[in-house]
Symmetry: C2
């Protein structure tokens, strides 16, 4: 059976494929909220059924937090094995008032599906499920591979249960390569494979002054104000060249080769295009690097949240007893997330002015990743993308973090191939998150084609 | 009838006086919340009845927001007139989890009444109501004065309706002096009259960068982060000497005389005592001034609230599109609140780094106040305090703001005498706000005695 049959099958199933994705997107599977329990289980069992419908044997496994869905279609232990990874959990949808349509009521506008999780990662992950479904009609393709699929529910909270899960099910999950679609293409019509990812360190810092909130009239002028101290501390974290001032922060950074710098400059967006994309006056960042380098191949530090004092409607003349911030660093090879978290946290404690006490704690992070760009699996996936989009697939680094990629490497010994199906302006983690209808339909084709190409050559590491 | 009768009457009524105050404190009359409507009216009508019970003719007047309670006992238009002012509204009680007992369930512990509004201003205001009640038994005292009392419900939100109310009822409210108890004594057992108050400018500032929230992995390193910009802006508002850096901020400040500086140094708390009171490591503020000067006679600028990005449980890797802060300045004669608000707001807009857009808006503020410390009314109140506490009453400035004091001066042409009945550690505006039982009972005596002393001499301005 040729690809023409596959395409016509996919085209005639489009309405159903969209309705199923909508059903998935309607489930508010926010992993950060403990109130999501019922939804997480509903979602996991729904996915298990869809894997079964696509011809896999599937189970839902409990973890310490949210369940994992696992399915497999095993042909022959002597054949190469692909493990597909995705996640069904989503980021919190707030601020709700900035959504054009409610985050858990998926809507199509201008050729895009709007919903929390549309691109990250439900739309991309479900493309594999539908690709597996259609490949049931092509046993010659399917029977060249063992296929496994794991869908977790904790990616947006740092995947705390996944590492223990990998350790526990190491044998079951054994594979030769991992396919992941949880990222973006280089641009619309320009497919790409990500050969690198940034790592993540995430901290919370608290600055305390007076032991209780004070009246700003009675004490203002002499009482320490932790918001002032925290602001000073944050302001000092970057120098005039946009570099992070934490001593030792850049010590382990792998410098880019001249060749890679050249590619990254060639494919970097212009300042104008970048600013238009994000709706800003001007970009910021480390002097001497292109925007693509700054966002994918250089480490950075950002405050992700800040709060202190009175933040409700109206005015309150309070001097707060504390102020807090969440901050994260994006890391590049060979920075270590634990080392950087400690470095930044202790730096903050050290630079708190003498009238204040600063403390910090560390959330889950993840290591940076850099793959072999000329492996057979990468080449196979690039060929698949070329076929579907009729354009050569670029090999670039990504700026985000998929911490589990390094866990897979460590526990399963397998490399991951990151085949992004989304677009950079998909607003993942933001209001009005979207996923292009064409990205979804072409994505299903690309997933099917990638499995087809992988079946054509033995991509096992030797 | 002598004071011995008055004291025994007051002592036998203590349990009832406390129960009535508890009833008042149980009403969550938070003026900042629009949901308080029913409570505000219930509270106003309850107070109207208590004024009637104390022998005044009383009404509840609607305003554009919260009602005003007004009562009067007019003897003779040729006699001097005292206007008593208080407010029945309270600050929001948050953060609720820091209260030992719930804010609207008044409780006595260790000789103190704990509740939101205990000291600010229900306990102090209600002392006058109970003083008027007991003075009904002493017509010789009461008949030497005309007495008026106004109790508003918007003090904690800047009294927006009071100025129009004063303009409308200028004739009705005509008076020779205004008595206000909405502040603190110098210390326990050391009564004082406040001859000065600081004014207030209150602003909100918003800093915007990207037009929408962004994923910190995809954009971190090149996208502007408004939390960074706001932090830099805040950090730049004070110099190393603790002075406000906004150009022109100190231009209109009335310097203290050498004599007053000497008094303020003599009565200033030590650094140790101040830090112990507020539970901090160290005080901050303007170099070269004592703590009492810094908190009462020098202007200052404080951030009262800050927020931006993800501030809920857990981690979210977001680059926020905006960050916001509430900030206020405490002002001294002859700073103008409108001028300072504009000065600060426009300074903030000007210093926003080029990748950001800053904007601001101004909340209601109030002018600073300085009275004639040797007027007959001030002397009469000091004599009353001396009698009740058996200690000389100090004349000091206060650090807080009672914006209506300058409105009274402007519209009614009368000075205010500020007879604080609370203590500095009453935690007004904070969790565990309190008012001493003795402050309440002695306060009722002081109010009665002040009216007695005022009746003894013609304190009218000539």
């Amino acid at each position: 059976m040729g690809h023409a049959d596959r395409r016509s099958r996919l085209e005639s199933a489009r309405a159903r494929h969209l309705e199923e994705l909508f059903e998935l997107l309607r489930m508010p599977s926010v992993s950060a909220h403990s109130s999501s329990k019922e939804t997480m289980y509903t979602c996991a069992h729904w996915l298990r059924q869809k894997l079964e419908d696509a011809g896999l044997q599937a189970v839902v496994d409990d973890t310490d937090r949210w369940p994992v869905v696992y399915g497999e279609r095993l042909v022959d232990p002597l054949l190469p094995t692909v493990l597909i990874y995705g996640h069904y959990d989503v980021q919190p949808p707030d601020p709700l008032n900035l959504w054009t349509t409610p985050p858990f009521e998926p809507t199509v506008r201008d050729g895009n599906i709007y919903a929390r999780g549309a691109t990250d990662d439900k739309g991309q992950m479900y493309s594999y499920v539908k690709a597996l479904e259609v490949l049931q009609h092509e046993p010659d393709v399917l029977n060249r591979l063992n296929i496994k699929m794991i869908i977790e529910g904790e990616e947006e909270v740092g995947s705390p249960s996944l590492r223990p899960y990998l350790d526990k099910y190491k044998e079951r999950l054994a594979c030769d390569v991992i396919l992941i679609s949880d990222s973006s293409m280089y641009a619309s019509g320009k497919p790409s494979v990500m050969i690198g990812l940034r790592g993540l360190s995430y901290l919370e810092v608290k600055v305390e002054g007076p032991s209780h909130d004070l009246h700003s009239g009675l004490y203002g002028g002499a009482a320490p104000n932790p918001i002032h101290a925290l602001s000073q501390m944050i302001a000092s974290l970057h120098d005039a060249d946009g570099r992070v001032t934490v001593p030792g922060f850049y010590d382990d950074v792998l410098a880019l080769s001249d060749d890679e710098r050249e590619v990254q400059r060639a494919y970097s967006q212009s300042s104008e295009a970048f600013c238009e994309e994000i709706g800003a006056n001007q970009e910021i960042g480390e002097r001497g690097y292109s925007i693509l380098e700054r966002t994918t191949s250089r480490p950075c530090l950002d405050i992700n949240g800040i709060w202190g004092g009175y933040i409700e409607e109206g005015s309150k003349t309070v001097l707060p007893s504390k102020a807090e911030a969440k901050l994260s660093c994006r890391l590049v090879p060979h920075q270590d997330p634990h080392k950087i978290a400690k470095l930044v946290g202790e730096h903050l404690v050290r630079i708190a002015p003498p009238a204040y006490r600063a403390s910090y704690f560390v959330h889950d992070g993840g290591a940076p990743y850099l793959a072999d760009p000329s492996s057979k699996a990468v080449e196979a996936v690039c060929a698949a993308l070329h076929t579907v989009w009729n354009a050569e697939a670029l090999k670039l680094r990504g700026g985000g973090s998929i911490p589990i990629v390094s866990d897979f490497k460590q526990v399963l010994g397998a490399d991951s191939v990151l085949m992004g199906l989304g677009l950079n302006d998909d607003r993942l983690h933001s209001p009005d998150e979207k996923f292009g209808l064409e990205n979804y339909y072409q994505g299903i084709r690309a997933c099917a084609e990638a499995l087809t190409q992988l079946g054509r050559e033995d991509f096992r590491a030797r």
